[in-house]
């Protein structure tokens, strides 16, 4: 086992060197990343992935946090441009709100990599497919329901209508689960605010209104865990329950999978990989190479102990297994995007 691990590490090192050498000709000195919400674990891991990758390639990533403030995001990008970074990576607080910024960046010849969701006038986007992530998790949930829940799926969606990405996940999940359990229904469609205490609160009320639920889907780990905690607090047994989380950015879901009998599926979105991919895209833009307008970063549902394939945990430190993650295939194109929501 240990030998295998060492072997894997060695190959990954080689892989890194190979990919690294592909860019050997010209590296930017400094890349700026304006993140929408740095204190969130997801973005902590995106940043970690970026910094790791940039260190491998031998340059610096500087991060500014918009802290969910659309105006502050524009200000941070302005600051980066006047500081003279070579490439800018942006995770928009809101996709529509960075259109003028992209226009100004174009005027100043500042290459920009977007992370998250597509924006009018963008050059390239690194993103996971939110709909697909939900969809594949939904398919797995459907299979689980057929095997363990008597073929019934009554879903409580602890959602976040505020963001198109999270709406896509919920939609994908329902569409996916219906491929296996055609009469699956969404019993509750909730706004959990994406945070645990609010998710708990609305779930508790919803479960009291109608407790006939056997699947809890959360658009992120805080939401699914908030929903699960509300289930437990209502004194319900986890025997006929399936909890599906999304993101897999921190230790919370690992803790839950280990300890909660109903927490069986986690739709992993590999934030580190998103960061990794964004840096590679930034280097390509810097070298004025052709880049696809949409670079998909892979996601995959992890079933039960499946997370151990991608992550190892030592105390409070989680380490990504790059080989396994790099081996996950990403689709060329998302099944549905935010543009489809507006139709």
């Amino acid at each position: 086992m240990r030998k295998l691990l060492i072997g894997l590490l060695a190959t990954s090192a080689v892989a890194v060197m190979v990919t690294g050498s592909a860019f050997a000709e010209k590296m930017p000195k400094k890349v700026g990343y304006v993140v929408n919400y740095a204190t969130h674990e997801w973005y902590q891991n995106v940043i970690k992935g970026m910094k790791d990758r940039a260190a491998q390639l031998g340059f610096e990533v500087e991060v500014k946090d918009a802290n969910l403030d659309a105006a502050k995001q524009i200000a941070a990008a302005e600051d980066f441009m006047s500081q003279g970074v070579d490439v800018l990576i942006i995770t928009p607080v809101n996709e529509d709100a960075v259109v003028p910024l992209l226009r100004r960046a174009k005027q100043e010849n500042m290459p920009i990599v977007l992370e998250g969701n597509p924006v009018k006038g963008m050059t390239t986007l690194v993103a996971i497919c939110d709909y697909d992530t939900g969809y594949h998790a939904g398919v797995e949930a459907g299979k689980y329901a057929k095997e363990h829940l008597g073929g019934k799926a009554k879903v409580m969606n602890v959602g976040l209508p505020l963001l198109s990405a999270t709406v896509l996940r919920s939609n994908g999940f329902m569409d996916g689960i219906k491929t296996e359990v055609p009469d699956a229904v969404m019993v509750h469609d909730l706004d959990g605010g994406g945070n645990p205490d609010r998710s708990f609160e609305v779930s508790a009320a919803a479960l009291a209104q109608n407790g006939d639920v056997n699947v809890i889907y959360g658009i992120n780990d805080s939401s699914s865990l908030g929903g699960l905690q509300a289930w437990k607090a209502a004194g319900k047994s986890q025997d006929d329950l399936l909890v599906v989380g999304t993101g897999g950015e921190g230790l919370a879901f690992i803790n839950a999978i280990e300890k909660e009998p109903s927490y069986k599926i986690e739709a992993a979105m590999f934030p580190e990989k998103v960061g990794f991919t964004a840096i590679d895209a930034a280097v390509k833009l810097y070298n004025k190479e052709e880049v696809p307008s949409w670079i998909v970063s892979p996601t995959t549902p992890m079933l039960g102990d499946g997370w151990k394939k991608y992550y190892s945990v030592d105390g409070n430190v989680r380490t990504i297994n790059w080989d396994a993650v790099n081996a996950v295939k990403a689709p060329d194109k998302c099944m549905k995007t935010a543009a489809d929501l507006k139709k």
């Binding site: 740095a38 204190t39 500087e62 991060v63 500014k64 946090d65 802290n67 969910l68 403030d69 659309a70 105006a71 502050k72 524009i74 200000a75 941070a76 302005e78 600051d79 006047s82 500081q83 003279g84 607080v93 809101n94 996709e95 529509d96 709100a97 960075v98 259109v99 003028p100 910024l101 226009r103 100004r104 009018k120 209508p161 505020l162 963001l163 198109s164 507006k342």
Partner: protein, 330 residues
Amino acid sequence: MPQSPSLSASGSASPGLARILFRRSEIGLVVALLAVILFFALASDTFLTVRNLTNVLGQASLAMIAGVGVAIVFISGEVDVSVGSLVAAVAIPLITVMNATESLALGIAAALALGLCVGIVNGFLAAYLGINSLITTLGTLFILRGGVYLYTGQKAIPDDVMLESFFQLGNGRLFEVVPYPALIAFALLLVFAYVMRHRTFGRKVYAVGGNPEVARLAGYDVKRVKFTCFIISSLLATVSGILLASRLGSAVHVAGLGFEFQVVAAVVLGGVSLSGGVGSLFGAALGVLILSFLSNGLGMLDLATEWQLVITGFIIIAAVGFDEWKRRQP
């Protein structure tokens, strides 16, 4: 008898921009601002560039415009915290009307109309019905934000017509140097500083906030003065909202979250008292600038948000505490 000729020579009845700018209470703020700038100029090599300094002026202008309005309400002895939601709300009529008519002027008119309505509601509830203005405007803060979410279905409304004039409003620069928002902010600051100093309305605001009973005896309609202050505050926040919408190119439902805290903190830092009658608009503007340069500089030093929050919190306590201490000295 504390009646020194030097004090009376610099007394408040002296016009002239320089003398207004450097009246006693504001000198401390100017020094603090210069200290902040000096500190970051030494600590970061990218801070002290024309580009960065003008950037910060542009970024500060939104809080400055709304801050002028909030300061006027504070001086009248009331509070307005509804501006955070208002800047998001006014973008909806602005963008919707612009999309429908392709006219920037009509869009701005629609936005101002909404701002006026909110000002009237705030002013009516607080000044005429006598509901505590903190509660009133906290209520409208919630109602407006909820209303924005309900109306937009929690999605941004994009600018479909992409008028160049609208883009330039928030993003353009005069002679490629000075951002237009900064010019607008400075112009509005001067206009309202003039009003507060040289028009009877402004003096009434100070009198009403300083001592409402005396103001009433002097024949002022205290309620109407306060009512008008709320309208001014809402209209100025609307201007901030319009510039913000231009910078964001859309009506963003989550825009301005927490903006009210930022503005209130800056205004209080600028020496405008929560109890009314004291403070100046230049002080408020300096408060905004100090916090903006602080935020920019800390960002340049690569300090994460958490440090920025902690440092800003302590600076507010220190600055306001110092101000209170100074005020208590005989």
